[in-house]
Assembly symmetry: C2
Homo-oligomer: 441 residues x 2
């Protein structure tokens, strides 16, 4: 993956350094400028619709050749293709982000430490963000909106199948931003090759956060290669637990929705846990519903023995840790709420976990003791989404515990500074006796 | 550093697994239990004062031998030694942490997504925290207080010089916690060897955060060895910038305090930047003050030529990036506010940076454009401290931008969960048309 492309690599380092400079200017932009720039940029996407469609046609034509030769999947082609409606959606999403409240300059805490000595904890941009994504070109306007709204410079690298579309989009957006002299040109840059990405991952002095959007293997690769913090969801091994006190209809609906409504999503369920007391009653109906929906079931031995007529494949140990991402699900009968929690904490990926029960106490324990970004009571795991959560937009879903957890919106692209306003204050005057402070360490 | 200590290593993995289990129980403890346990633990430290002093005497006696043979520094010995007063301080700090507001279960955001569908973002413990520190035994009660108050299990490893003291403290604290049957024994464990630490760094499934407290080399070593997120300050290369519009007395006081008041602290200043317009007036007085305070000065060529009488060593490039941690400082004359900001953003360690000026606009620009955890106006860099900030206690100062930045108190030991309370809600019923949500992705 690395190669003798030193001039290219030097270029990425130079771009990142210029982005770092740009970030300093972006940090001083007013809310108005950042908002208006997105609205204008959205307009310009519509104005230049024909250019975008022409560029996209080139990519789609090339992709069609690859599909017919078997080098590309039909679904990748579908995601690559855009349309007038698609461009309207891109513009609409940029306008949506413009409408979100300013994430920068929020006073998160304020304290008066002494006469004329005031401390404020204030939200500010992270600085420079590198975003690497797959073929969908509609990602570009969205992430550019999120990064500019939060005052960050961005280095983008899209899928090579979408090269023409991506270049058209970035050049239109960059041109739109030139209408605002306060916005530096290097607020937004497009990288071109995988070697560029490898080089970017090494630039920890000039890049503050990497956001990989793609397969879990890709995210894991990026995390292993970079010293820069990475914000990316790994797997979504999500569970629905049907408790002894579950309402059967709710449990059926939630389990079907969590698995079937969009099985490729990371918030889809991969394993259904069923309390042993309710299993004889619930399982036959559940299996029938899954069969109707075309779901293949991998069951534990109890699942199989409780459903002699149904078609259930025997689950192996690896099934409990698998993100199927399609119409397959594993089912396990558990002896207790404790067993369900232990199973989830062992096999889950800390993404989203749901309990179906009418027992409030069981729900509370589940939500307290399960270690995940989202813990749900009587709701489908599919609700784990920045839009549904009301964040207005989403840059991804994080399964890490630090910084941002769960769906990440604008706030996840910010950090904070402590600003201290004094009038010549020195620590020597702040002794334990006079000011009640702890002794110096 | 690694070695054939497999049984030891197995033990650390087993301890970490039990700590993970303990963390599940800790996450459910009430505020009362976590608070009362710290108050009782503080009492027990006082009750067992004689034991602690006896154990400490063993460590100190052994250390004295090492000091006389030149294997240990006098300052290390001083930090190792405790006293009745020292134990009272330890107990007082535990009681202080007990008094802090509960960091767990805070509702950070709440939204009604639909009828009977309520989303809450709630603070919760991180889980299991590994803390590695140097010889000062008074760290133990403090970090145990912080981790228990925030509902986390902790694995501690102290300096080997303090083995007896550390073991006495941990066994008294563990004994105190047995007075609370809800607190699992594995909430607190002491590790013993460097090999234990190496093993701990590999246990990313059972440990959520590593906090190294020690030299920057040690922190860097830990960060390079572990896949577990690390919360630890690296260097503190802090600056005081004396602007053209500085009030000279304030500038003198702040520069002296920032350098001299406690030069070994990470928030002490290492470089003084002086605007060229004010340098001829300010430098002679400043150099005289530093000389009085026993500070050795390394100056740029302008500094040297502006102070022909004073004793100034020529600064080399490496001086601008050096954390002296003692009574040395580098001084550079800069041409503008922009140059000062550029110097700091290039050489600073993103810790704490101060501008001295009566020009509000210059102050605002400095505080906006300097990329650091703390940006100060007319105040000593030495204020960067969890106690002074009113956090009540501090586990360290972070120079990273993600998760916690600057002085880190209880909040830095927490994360959050999204809790969604529904009544059988499925996503299939939330179409764009009916609920105004974004289309499914």
């Amino acid at each position: 993956m690395t190669g003798p492309v030193e001039s290219k690599n030097t270029t990425v380092a130079a771009i990142a350094r210029r982005a770092r400079e740009a970030a300093r200017a972006l940090a001083t932009l007013s809310d108005d400028v950042r908002r208006d720039a997105l609205i204008i940029a959205a307009d310009r996407l519509i104005d230049h619709e024909a250019e975008i469609l022409a560029a996209n046609k080139k990519d789609v034509d090339a992709a069609r050749v690859q599909v017919s030769s078997g080098e590309m999947s039909q679904s990748l082609l579908a995601r690559l293709q855009t349309s007038e409606r698609g461009i309207e959606d891109m513009a609409a999403k940029m306008r949506d982000v413009a409408k979100l409240p300013d994430p920068i300059g929020r006073i998160l805490e304020a304290r008066k430490l002494d006469q004329e000595l005031r401390l404020e904890k204030v939200s500010c941009p992270l600085g420079v963000i590198g975003i690497v994504f797959e073929s969908r070109p509609d990602v570009i306007p969205q992430v550019v909106a999120l990064t500019l709204r939060s005052g960050n410079a961005v280095l983008l690298k899209g899928g090579k199948e979408a090269t023409n579309t991506n270049e058209a989009l970035v050049s239109i957006l960059r041109m739109a931003f030139t209408e605002f002299p306060q916005i530096p040109a290097d607020a937004l840059n497009l990288l071109h090759t995988r070697a560029d990405v490898v080089e970017m991952l090494s630039l920890e002095n000039d890049i503050d956060l990497i956001v990989p959007r793609g397969s879990k293997d890709f995210v894991a690769y990026v995390a292993s290669q970079s010293k820069i913090p990475v914000l990316g969801h790994g797997e979504g091994v999500c569970h629905v637990y049907v408790d002894a006190a579950a309402a059967l209809k709710k449990a059926l609906d939630i389990a079907v929705d969590s698995k079937v409504q969009y099985p490729a999503a990371c918030n889809a369920a991969e394993t259904l846990l069923i309390h042993t007391e309710i299993a004889p009653l619930f399982l036959p109906e559940m299996l029938a519903a899954f069969t109707d929906a075309g779901v293949t079931v991998f069951g534990c031995s109890n699942t199989i023995s409780l459903a002699p007529g149904a078609k259930v494949m025997p689950a192996s140990e690896s099934d409990w840790a698998t993100e199927y991402s399609d119409l397959r699900i594993s089912i396990k009968v558990v002896d207790s709420l404790d067993d369900a929690i232990a199973h989830i904490n062992h096999y889950g990926s800390k993404h989203t976990e749901s309990i179906v029960t009418e027992d409030e106490e069981a729900a509370q324990r589940f939500m307290q003791e399960v270690d995940a970004a989202g813990v749900y009571h009587n709701a489908s795991t599919r609700f784990a989404d920045g839009y549904r959560y009301g964040l207005g937009a989403e840059i991804g879903i994080s399964t890490s515990k630090l910084h941002a957890r769960g769906p990440v919106g604008l706030e996840g692209l910010t950090t904070y500074k402590y600003k201290l306003y004094g009038d010549g204050h020195t620590v020597a005057n702040f002794t334990v006796e006079s000011k009640g402070f702890a002794p110096d360490r």
